[in-house]
C-alpha cells in the first residue's frame, strides 16, 4: 500500500494528506463565508433601496427632535443631534452601571459571608435570598419593582414627605445640597488627610515588622482623614444650604429628582446581581483550605487578622474573575431598561433613534460596538490581572 518517497516519509494519497485536507477545508469555509456575506450585503442594499432608507452615518449630525427624561449632559430636543442623544444614553447606562456595581458588591459580600456564618438563622436567610432571587428572571423582577411597587406609591398630590424629601409615583425628590465658598479648601484638606493616613499605615506596618508592636491604626486613621477636613470646614466657615424641592399643584420643582425608572432599574439590578456575587464570594472563601485558617491560629493570629491577612487575600484570587463577570453582566443586563422605559443607551439609541431613522444596520452596529468595547477591555484587564496574581509554581 505505502510507497516510501525519497525522503523516507510514507507517501499517502493527496485525499488523505492532513495538510492538503486542512487547506481545502479552510478554503471551502472561506468561500462559503464570503458568499454568505456577499449575499447578505446585496440583499441589504436591495431591501434598503426598496424601503428608501438612507445608509451611512450621516444621521449622526441630524437634529434629534425627541425628549429624554433624564439627561446628565446638555441636551434639548430642538437643538441636539442624534449623536448627542447617543451620549446621553451612554452616560445614563454608565450611571446605572456604576451605582449598581457599588451596591451589588456591598450587598453581595455581606450575603456571601452570611452564607458561611455559624449562625443558622443568618445562614439560612442568606441562602434563601440567593436561591429565590437567582431563580426568577430579572425582567420579571424589574417589572415587579416598577409596576407593582413604585407605581403603587401615592400620587403627586399626597406624596409621602420626610424632612424635605418627597416620594410619590413620579419619583423621589430629594433636597440638593449646595455649598458656599471654601468647599475647595475642605476637599484639599480631606485629600491631605487621606494621604497622611496612608503614610501612617505604611509606617505602622514597618514598625510592626521591626518591633512586633503595632501602633494604633484605626483611631489615627479616623482622626487623620476627618480631622483636617472638619477643621478646614470650621475655619473657612463654609455655608451649606439645601435646595429644597417645592411642591406645586401638579409637579415638584427644584431639588434632586430620582426617576422611578432609574430607581427600579438600579434596585432590581443590585438585588439580582448581589445574589450572584454572593455565590462567587462564598465559593471563593470556601476555596481557602481549612489548613490555612488552622495554620494562622497556630501562629497565634486573632480571628479578625486571620480573615484579613490569610483568608481574604487568598480568596480574592478566586473571587475576582467571577466578580468581574458579574459586573459585565450587570452592565449588559442594564439594557433591560428598555422594558420599563429608563432612557439608557438601548432605549434611547436602539429604540427611539432606530425607529426615527430606520437605519437598523448602523444603529445596531454602533450599540454592539459600545458593549463589545466595554466587554473586551474588561476581559483584557482581567487576563492581565489573572496572569499577575496566578500562583507561581515550580
Amino acid at each position: 500500500m505505502e510507497r516510501k518517497s525519497a525522503s523516507g516519509k510514507p507517501q499517502v494519497s493527496l485525499l488523505y494528506d492532513r495538510k492538503v485536507r486542512s487547506i481545502a477545508i479552510q478554503t471551502l469555509l472561506c468561500v462559503v463565508i464570503l458568499f454568505l456575506v456577499y449575499a447578505a450585503a446585496t440583499n441589504a442594499v436591495d431591501n434598503l433601496a426598496r424601503a428608501k432608507i438612507a445608509s451611512g452615518f450621516g444621521f449622526w449630525n441630524n437634529i434629534a427632535g425627541f425628549d429624554i427624561s433624564q439627561t446628565l449632559i446638555e441636551y434639548s430636543s430642538s437643538a441636539s443631534t442624534y449623536g448627542q442623544a447617543f451620549w446621553v444614553g451612554l452616560w445614563n447606562t454608565l450611571l446605572v452601571g456604576a451605582i449598581g456595581i457599588v451596591g451589588a458588591t456591598v450587598i453581595g459580600f455581606i450575603v456571601g459571608i452570611a452564607r458561611l456564618s455559624r449562625n443558622l438563622l443568618v445562614r439560612r436567610a442568606a441562602s434563601g435570598y440567593v436561591e429565590i432571587v437567582r431563580n426568577i428572571p430579572l425582567l420579571l423582577q424589574l417589572l415587579f419593582w416598577y409596576n407593582a411597587v413604585l407605581k403603587a406609591l401615592p400620587e403627586m398630590s399626597n406624596s409621602l414627605v420626610v424632612v424635605g424629601a418627597y416620594l410619590n409615583n413620579r419619583g423621589l425628590f430629594l433636597p440638593k445640597p449646595a455649598f458656599g465658598d471654601g468647599i475647595g479648601q475642605v476637599l484639599i484638606a480631606l485629600a491631605v488627610g487621606i494621604a497622611a493616613a496612608i503614610a501612617w499605615r505604611w509606617f505602622a506596618n514597618r514598625r510592626q515588622a521591626a518591633t512586633g508592636k503595632r501602633p494604633p491604626v484605626l483611631l489615627v486613621t479616623l482622626v487623620l482623614v476627618f480631622g483636617p477636613a472638619i477643621l478646614a470646614f470650621m475655619i473657612m466657615n463654609v455655608q451649606v444650604h439645601f435646595d429644597l424641592p417645592q411642591s406645586g399643584r401638579f409637579n415638584i420643582r427644584g431639588g434632586l429628582e430620582v426617576l422611578p425608572e432609574f430607581a427600579a432599574l438600579t434596585f432590581g439590578l443590585v438585588i439580582y446581581t448581589a445574589a450572584f456575587i454572593a455565590e462567587a464570594v462564598r465559593a471563593g472563601i470556601s476555596s481557602v483550605s481549612r489548613g490555612q485558617t488552622e495554620a494562622a491560629l497556630a501562629l497565634g493570629l486573632r480571628p479578625r487578622f486571620i480573615l484579613r491577612l490569610v483568608v481574604v487575600p487568598q480568596a480574592m484570587r478566586v473571587i475576582i474573575p467571577p466578580l468581574t463577570n458579574q459586573y459585565l453582566n450587570l452592565v449588559k443586563n442594564s439594557t433591560l431598561a428598555v422594558a420599563i422605559g429608563y432612557p439608557d443607551l438601548v432605549q434611547v439609541f436602539t429604540g427611539t433613534v432606530l425607529n426615527l431613522t430606520g437605519q437598523a444596520v448602523e444603529v445596531v452596529a454602533i450599540t454592539m460596538a459600545v458593549y463589545l468595547t466595554i466587554s473586551l477591555t474588561t476581559s483584557l484587564l482581567m487576563n492581565w490581572y489573572n496572569a499577575r496574581i496566578a500562583l507561581v509554581e515550580r
Binding site: Q26, A125, I136, A152, G212, K332, V346, L354
Partner: protein
Amino acid sequence: MADPATASLPVGAAYIRREPVPARPPPLLVSGPLAWLRRNFFASVPDTLLTILGAVILYWIIPPIVDFLLLDATWTGADREACLATPERPEVGACWPFVRDRFAYFIYGSYPIPERWRVDAFFALLAAGIFWMLWLDAPARGLGAVYFFIVLPIVSVFLLSGAPSLGLAKVDTALWGGLMVTVVVATVGIVVSLPIGIALALGRRSKMPLVRLLCVIFIEFVRGVPLITVLFMASVMLPLFVPETYSPDKLVRALVGVALFSSAYMAEVVRAGLQAIPRGQYEAATALALGYWRGMGLVILPQALRITIPNIVNSYIALFKDTTLVFVVGIFDFLRAIEVARIDPKWATPVTSTTGYAFAAIFYFVVCYAMSRYATGVERRLAAGARRGVV
C-alpha cells in the same frame, strides 16, 4: 525568664508567650436541644445580636408575603369586584380568581380553542423527551437523543404551525402566545445550542487557524454584547439580509437570535468540558487508530459531555430565564401574557399586578429551582464516581 528555652531569645521579642495559657472552664452544655440552640443561634454576644437582627428582618418580610399570598387572598369570584377592598375587608391580598380566569390565556395565548389539543400534545412529547434525556439510567439514551434533537423538532413544527396535508389547520405564529411560546423559545434554544455549541467548541480547539479564528470571533462577539441587542439585530437586521420573499416572521427572527446567543454560551461550557479531559485520552484514541471524528465521537465527547451535564443544565436555567427578553421585541411569551392580562379592565384592581407577577415568579422559580436541584444531584453523582477507591 529563668526558662532556658526562652532565655536565648532577643530581648525585644515581646510577642513570644512565656507562660502557659490558663485552662478554659469546662463547657456547661454539649448536647441536647439547648446546646443546639446555643451553638447555632447564641454562640456569643455578636451572634445573639445577629440572630435578633435576622429575626427582625425576616419578621418584616415573611408575614406580609404570607398574608398577601394566602391569608388575605381572594379565592373565589367572577370579576374585579371580588378583589376590591371593602369596609368589611380593608386588607386585600392576592386575587387568585384572576389567575384562574386567565389561566388558559397564560398557557395558550390566542391559539384557536379547538386546536389547543395540539399544544397539549406538544407539551406531552416534550416532557417525554426531557425525561428521557435527564434520566441518566434510562434505556436506549442514544435513541432518546435522536428523538429529542431530530424527531421532536420536526414533529413539533408540524403539530404547532399546522400541516394542511395531514389535516392540521394552519395556525399563524401571531396567534401563538403565553407559556407555549416561552416553552417553544426555550426548546429551540436548548435543541439548537447543544449541537452548534459542540461544533463551535471543537472549532475553537481546532488546529486549523482560520476555523479557530472564526469560532473565536463568533463566540466572543456574541458573549460580549447583551441578549437584547442580539434580539434587536435578529428582528431588525435579519429581514434586510434575506430576499424580501423569504423574510422570516417575527417569532422565527427571535428564535434565530436566541439560538445564536445560547450557542455561543454553550460553546464555552462544552470547551471547559473538553479541556478537563486528560491528554492521555486523546493520545489513546489516536493510538487505537481512530481518526479525528471517531476519536471525538467515541472517546472524548462522551466523557466531556458527561462531566459537563451540571454546567449544561445551569446554562439552560439561564436560557430559560432569558427567554423572557423576547418580550422586548414584541413576542407574546408567558410574561407578556401576564403583562397584558394584568391591565385588562375586567380584572383591574390595585392587587392584580402583584398577583400576576407573584404567579409568574412562582412558576419560574419552580422550574428553575427544579433544574438546579437536578444539576446538583448529577454533580454529586459524578463526584461519587471520582471518590471511589483507587485499588
